[in-house]
Symmetry: C5
Subunit: 355 residues, 5 copies
């Protein structure tokens, strides 16, 4: 299950800009890959050291430097010095409990996003922080270093020159990366939507306390999803308004497209929350209804057998002078009277719809 | 029942502007119909191919090109090229999970709306996405291709030149189409209102778990309706403010009229939501009340017969020396005592209003 | 009871400006009355036909034309042509499901309001739509045509020249009419407040399911009242800001007064909603409390008599060798033992405060 | 208890500016006291008639005219004429159901506030409307005329020239009066806070339906308090911004201080509301918990004694051939068996933690 | 436990600027420590008297005067006179019930913050008000005087000249102090997060009324935390916008960093509130579920043994003519019949899943 909070306390008391990793430790060591392109040119390689990347800073082509794993302060520091990234931004890259945000540092934009995966096994969401630095002709992306990412289609498009991506600048690349991330939210939402619909069906047929716990976990997921998506709205809206000269007019129209998608994601999250709230009401009232029906069974049984037991007890008394006991038809009469009483009560309950 | 979410995942990883159909498949093949008019002139025909439509682009008359069925990327691409529609707009036309929106592309406005029908059979709402492209002298409308639409009265008015529609431009046609869609919301709301009122009556007479499920489904409908109508407010408000030169001043006053209607629809949806929330409270407390009355019956029965059973048990004991058993009036005395006890308890319960 | 929604569906498909009556049919035929005044001059008469009114259009005096009954499209059309009222405004006058609004048509202001009456008999609110057209020197008011209105004090003031009304222009007359309507809301609120307070008392003494239904109906009333009053705020605020040249500076100060009253009405409606929500909580927990006390009675009875019944059953067994049965003091001993058990339990329950 | 609504209906139909008293009648007749001061000068007296006050209008000193009791239209009218107060303001002074507000009439500011006292006896809040008229060199305050007010410390400071009050103008006097009123809210909040904390303790120890009613009354108080304090925020904010030339720059800094206090009061009211909502949840679940424990007692008793009663009933049957009855150890055996059953059940319940 | 409200009532009636201590009394006497630095220079000492501090006012170096304990009006007054602090600010320093705020007095900024510590022992939060006065080259901080503070890391950095702190001005020092306080909130949130997660686990395994009270206390903590953090947002936002010349551009970027942290804290508090609300629902429904299962046990027992008891009672009747009693196989037959009935019922309950 997603932890409520990441351990930020180890940072307490450090001067600002101190690079301390906050987040899960990953086994993988940090690795750096570079893609550089311009129209027909295309270069892709794994960088053995940080220094290799630096040559791309002033090249003509657009470079995408992807850093997998952020637990190595030395790598970040070198990159930071070379590309002129502010220590506070570097600090935020390493602290994976950031909320999505955009900071305009003039020469470059610093963007923080959340990449979300649905983890089928333990039913929770898996979040990975992605930080993007957009300069004039380069994009540096930092990932937490967990297995896999959602950028493969972008890489594929760059390799095959599919679409317009090779003809556009670094801002379009940032758009493409952000679009991959937001598109992936829909995959997650589909999974959650299926989970909600399957619970909804269970609710009608046979609600159990387990159903309740599933709902609670989905609600929890929704809270986390919401926390990641709401601030995204402002981030992309600020990109769309084209406030930074780093974002070209022609790219802004694509940003509007992601903006629409983000609104759609937010809308869906809110719809899911509404659905879950409604389902909780259904659950609670079905529990009450079941209590009602249990009590009705008890009441029917008690109401029928208590008078009868009284009757048979009555004629079990040992008084010397009880004339009925001597009657020849006493026993059958009592039996008939009791049958009538029981029958009458059954009819009564039928009418009250308790049976 | 309305699906919570349409399958958007197949789009993941595609470059922007890739035309992929998202939504239910319809059996019908895409068809195109054209209406062109100007004052006294009127022309209506089915277009066999896309190319036929293209002649209308630069004509003097106002043309309305209605495309039924959006699962054919080739048709959309041709239309897009001819009328200069941006690939992102074409993509949105094919993705039927859009929320209502308006995008101003300078030369043309791109509007997305939801056409809603009340489906009496399975109690749900039936949504169809309608995309409108408004150019200087043409309107292109795209429908998902399901049987029927709400535009017949507009067609009729165009044919018979009823009202001012033949004298006005393409902006007025867009107004007329949007007005048809919003007017239709009232029909849906009336149906839902009737459903709510019939449930409200049931709640008073005899609330069952079924009532609860009906309420849950109505609530669900309301969530979807709300999702479709709220964004419409902004869309029409932006048209009314006359920010685009494509909307004439004289048409803006009509847009204000639809704006008022949209607010009325939103108001009514919110009222219905409030009503449903209140009805859920009534339901829950009537379930509790019923539990109360069941328990009262049980308690009354138990309280009357438990002491009586004790009494008859008492005189069923086999002690050798129980003087009462020998008394001649023992039995009648016990009977009277028990009758007094039972009667006294009945009076007590009457006073407590449990009977 | 107030209908949730008026039948708007018959308008679907009609061109804008089509005059169709939406609302309850009233038996009364439409009637027109005219009051014209200027300082010392005063004229009041019933107009036999629409044409009679037209003479007042360009007179020096201020004219108030009051139309009772809006189900006659011909009358509205004639009036509309004469005073230059836009067809969309005429359409809104006839459709009585409008929300309060103000439209500035340049030459005249078009205002829609709701006149509310408390209907003691069936406990609901009775709403009537009032549309006002304010021109330079005339006011036309349209009412739905139900018996009576709240304008009598205004008429009286006009007749007797009480206050400053005869010295002021048409804008002040509109103010006076709106003030009458808003003042009347206080009367309605007082009635509702009394209803709430009487329910509150019942809640403390003896809450029944009926109390719940009364609360539900009040909540419903509140929803409708709120719907009528909230938009009024904007309407009057726009009049107060004096955006239209038709509203004089000296009248704007009076508009601020109605504005304050409207805020007071809204405040009170919200307070009532809060009160009702709190009362529902009280109701629900008093139902739970009563269940608790019912169950306590049952438990006390069962806990006392079940062991006793076991005891008497024990000595009702027919074993041959049961020494106690032979004892001379067996019976009294058992009686004493049982009395002790019962007494001890009563003490226990007393301590637990169940009795 | 605070009435939900004051009788405003008697005003319906009156022309604006009609002076009608709305509010509780007080036995005391209206009285007027005047304080005039300037540096070293200080004058304090009871005014026998309104005319006496008029001399202070154009004096050099700052005058504070305090009117106790607002049920005398003649007094208000005279004051109004002399100091040029608008009839609508006079009307608002007499209508004690105003919400706090500020109206800028150019020459003077008209401020309405609520003075609140905690009434220990019947547990409710006692509200008194205070209207202030701030002119260039005078302040007129109107109170409803109930015993006592919160202005005594201000009077004392004026008499003893403590602080800077005698050196400052009329605006500072208004500040001092408003500060007294807002400061007094803290006293009320402290009392309510104590009430909430004492209820919170009761909730833990022994929640009864009375606790619930106390909570309901506190909630009610909170609703009224909130209604009086929220609008105050805007009032003081408008004074602080120094929009009126009647408020000096040096006084504005003091207004900011009251503004902070008002925000603190609002914050506390909201905190109390949150606390009360949380306490209601605690109450409801403790009621449910208690029901649970009652039911457990019942179930334990029934589960133990029902099988035992069956057993003893079994051997109370009168069949001729029941071998067990003849056994010598029959009776003790049955006793042992029953003890074992009962013991085993007790162990079971212990394990389920029902005992 | 945190008191709901501090005793402000003793201030009622005092002129503004009266220095009265509001808050808990601390045993410690007020003490003053001074740190002065500039690049390589560094001085740290305890000030024996207020006068000692005054020399730092016009020095070249940056001075940080830390006052521990605010219950000595004389010290504050002297400091106030020397550094020109407004009496209203001094008053706010001594009143520890302030909400976080910033006041711009031109020459200096006055900032109020809350330092929060998690008090493990009694489970509550411990709040201490910190007031900061930022002048051109000095910072004065006032603490309530409780043991310890969160500024030690800042002192350490000043002493060791770690980071850039010794090279920057007084504004950076204020930033560092505020950063320490906000960083500490994360420590508190981590503790609360752990508490929430441990309760969440308990909820699944074995919810008791104690769990509910823990939740209630956490909710209470959350209310107080929220009250301290929300206003902080505005405070820091105002610092970040660089409205005051006392905040340098280069420091503003650091303020943006704290701003992000504050938003993160607010986000987390809201998430925790959502979690707690969800957990309350789980708790309530698990209580209902348990009631259900208790009732099922009772019903099963009653349903099985009531008919059996009736049967044995039947053959305990003393009628003279009861043929079954004479049968040789009567007793075994009855036993078999009863076993069949009981078995059949058990099967029935199994099927209904009550067992």
């Amino acid at each position: 299950m997603q932890k409520l909070l990441k351990k930020r306390s180890k940072k307490v008391g450090q001067p600002p800009g101190t690079l301390i990793h906050i987040g899960e430790e990953t086994a993988k060591d940090a690795s750096i890959s570079v893609i550089a392109y311009r129209d027909e040119q295309f270069l892709e390689k794994e960088a053995a050291s940080v220094e290799e990347c630096l040559t791309f800073k002033n090249s003509e082509s657009v470079s995408w430097i992807n850093v997998e794993g952020i637990n190595r302060p030395d790598i970040l520091e070198k990159l930071g010095q070379c590309f002129g990234i502010h220590p506070l931004a570097l600090e935020d890259i390493m602290a994976t409990d950031q909320r999505p945000k955009i900071d305009d540092f003039g020469d470059y934009l610093f963007i923080v996003l959340k990449m979300i995966r649905y983890n089928g096994n333990n039913g929770g969401l898996d979040m990975e922080q992605v930080s993007l630095v957009l300069g004039r002709n380069f994009v540096i992306s930092f990932q937490e270093g967990r297995e896999g990412d959602v950028f493969d289609p972008v890489r594929e498009r760059l390799r095959t020159a599919k679409g317009r991506i090779r003809k556009m600048g670094a801002d379009y690349l940032v758009y493409a990366l952000m679009d991959s991330i937001v598109d992936n939210y829909f995959t997650v939402l589909e999974k959650l939507g299926e989970a909600i619909e399957s619970i909804e069906e269970k609710l009608v047929i046979d609600p159990t306390p387990d159903t309740l716990h599933l709902m609670h976990e989905l609600k929890r997921d929704m809270i986390f999803l919401r926390k990641s998506v709401w601030p995204l709205r402002e981030v992309i809206s600020s990109l769309e308004r084209g406030e930074s000269p780093l974002i070209d007019k022609s790219t802004a129209i694509y940003m509007r497209d992601i903006y629409d998608h983000t609104i759609q994601v937010i809308d869906t999250v809110e719809t899911f929350r509404d659905m879950l709230a409604g389902m909780l009401d259904i659950y609670l009232s079905s529990v009450s209804n079941r209590l009602n029906s249990v009590m009705k069974v008890l009441t029917v049984i008690a109401t029928i057998f208590m008078p009868l037991s009284f009757f048979v007890g009555l004629y079990g008394m040992n008084f010397k002078y009880m004339p009925e006991l001597e009657w020849h038809w006493g026993y059958p009469t009592v039996l008939v009277v009791m049958a009538v009483i029981a029958g009458w009560m059954l009819v009564l309950f039928k009418r009250k719809r308790w049976l």
